[in-house]
């Protein structure tokens, strides 16, 4: 049943509206008709307490998350490839990574502030920490999953070391690396919201919802949360589409 998927969201919206009517306190449960106008005017700065329009805030958050995510990918993928290819380097890095990995990205906030002060660098650093480990671990896994026969075929067909890397190891590991990027981006997107709560930040979706709280504008908080959710969903959708288009061979190696 295709439409069954829509049933629960619709029931939830109706329930919400009923509850808002019963509670009758817009600070606790704002009614739908105070949230929807905000979502319908994403380009208008009039609904966001003078923090710039929803789109503007979203663009800034996406920019920040993109920056931290790209830096994380640029560092994690090469290290992951080296670790996947060389047991020696794996042993060298592995214990450190296992020690650092369980530390939640947000636990790095005070240190980030101490090192980079208030500003973009701190935010990017937190996002970097969030995205780094899933990308790294998946890259290592992906490189290790490259079949020995694939490498040997390349060797016997005259491939040089560099060609084996670009024509066999990378494409062979690509689906798993892509999964790492997808998971990493998801975590990065979670981190950006919290990172925008750092002092001295004055834009971004995370900032917007906290700012709205300070003014008791729960309807704006919820509208901001909806936008955060939808953007996360859309980006994940793009990742999945690319995966389906380019990496549909995964699991069908024969």
């Amino acid at each position: 049943m295709r439409y069954l998927r829509l049933l629960l969201p619709i029931l939830l919206l109706i329930g919400w509206e009923l509850v808002s009517w019963v509670v009758n306190n817009p600070f606790i449960v704002p009614s739908l008709e105070t949230v929807i106008p905000i979502l319908l005017h994403p380009f208008s700065p009039e609904y966001t307490l003078g923090t710039g329009s929803m789109v503007e805030n979203a663009a800034i958050s996406i920019q920040r998350v993109g920056l931290g995510f790209l830096v994380a990918a640029a560092v994690a993928i090469p290290i992951g490839i080296l670790m996947g290819r060389s047991p020696l380097l794996n042993d060298f890095f592995d214990s450190t990574i296992e020690l650092l990995r369980p530390i939640p990205p947000l636990a790095w906030v005070p240190l980030a502030l101490a090192w980079f002060k208030i500003g973009l660098t701190s935010i990017v650093f937190i996002i970097f920490i969030g995205a780094f480990f899933p990308i790294l671990l998946n890259t290592v896994d992906g490189v290790r999953s490259v079949k020995k026969t694939w490498l040997e075929v390349a060797t016997t067909l005259g491939a040089k070391e560099r060609q084996i890397m670009t024509k066999v190891v990378l494409p062979g590991a690509a689906p798993t690396i892509w999964t790492g990027l997808r998971v990493g981006f998801g975590i990065a997107w979670m981190c950006v919201v919290a990172a925008e709560w750092l002092p001295g930040i004055s834009k971004g979706l995370g900032y917007l919802i906290l700012y709205a709280y300070n003014f008791g504008q729960t309807n704006l908080i919820i509208a901001g949360m909806v936008v955060i959710g939808v953007i996360g969903l859309l980006i994940d959708f793009v990742f999945k589409r690319v995966e389906k288009k380019w990496f549909s061979w995964r699991g069908l190696e024969r």
Partner: protein, 254 residues
Amino acid sequence: MSLVLKGISKSFLGEGKAEVQALSHINLEVADGEFVSILGPSGCGKTTLLRIIAGLDHATGGSILLDGNRIEGPCPRMAMIFQEYSLYPWRTVLDNIAFGLEMKGMEKPRRRAKALEFLEMVGLVDFAENYPFELSGGMRQRVAVARALAIDPQILLMDEPFGALDAQTRNMLQRELLEIWEKTKKTVIFVTHSVDEAVFLSDRVVVLTARPGTIRDIVPINLPRPRERTGTDFARIRRYVLDHVEKTAFSSKV
């Protein structure tokens, strides 16, 4: 072209650091254009021997001479065909066949045109733009053969290439391989554990003993091709070779 195996031995450290002798003093000369099978029970080191010839493993004793020159590593004059899982699942059939040419730096239109010739030879032109997972096991091995042929090697090294196929497909591919061999005049070294396959295909059958692998006998098969599996001569030679193999299997159990 002449290929000479001189006193090839191979030992490795097994469990508990005990030295295991896999191959012992293998001497063999393969003539230009000859079809030689290496036959033996599993664990006799026949695949190891082939891998040493291909330059994928190193012998611990002896040497391999190709036209008088010692071979130390993978050599473009030989191409190896593996048992299975050797095609690159992210490449189309045509791009798989063109892989070796690409490694040599041949530009795209030329290598694709050339790959198409070999695709034609194995009768899969209609599948040029398909991916390996869309092909049956027999078709995939045809592609693997075409990919090896595409780099124009003098020697084809085949490691139980039809071992994973059903009996009918297997017989069909054996006949096709002989046609290709007659057409291209390649030298073939073919590893198999099937007596029937060895006798059907080869000019000579090299029977290996079980561990350590040594040459028990080299049986010339002087039957005209195409060979009839049901013929009395075929049955007689098959019986003879089978006796050899069984004896080696029994003697290794004692």
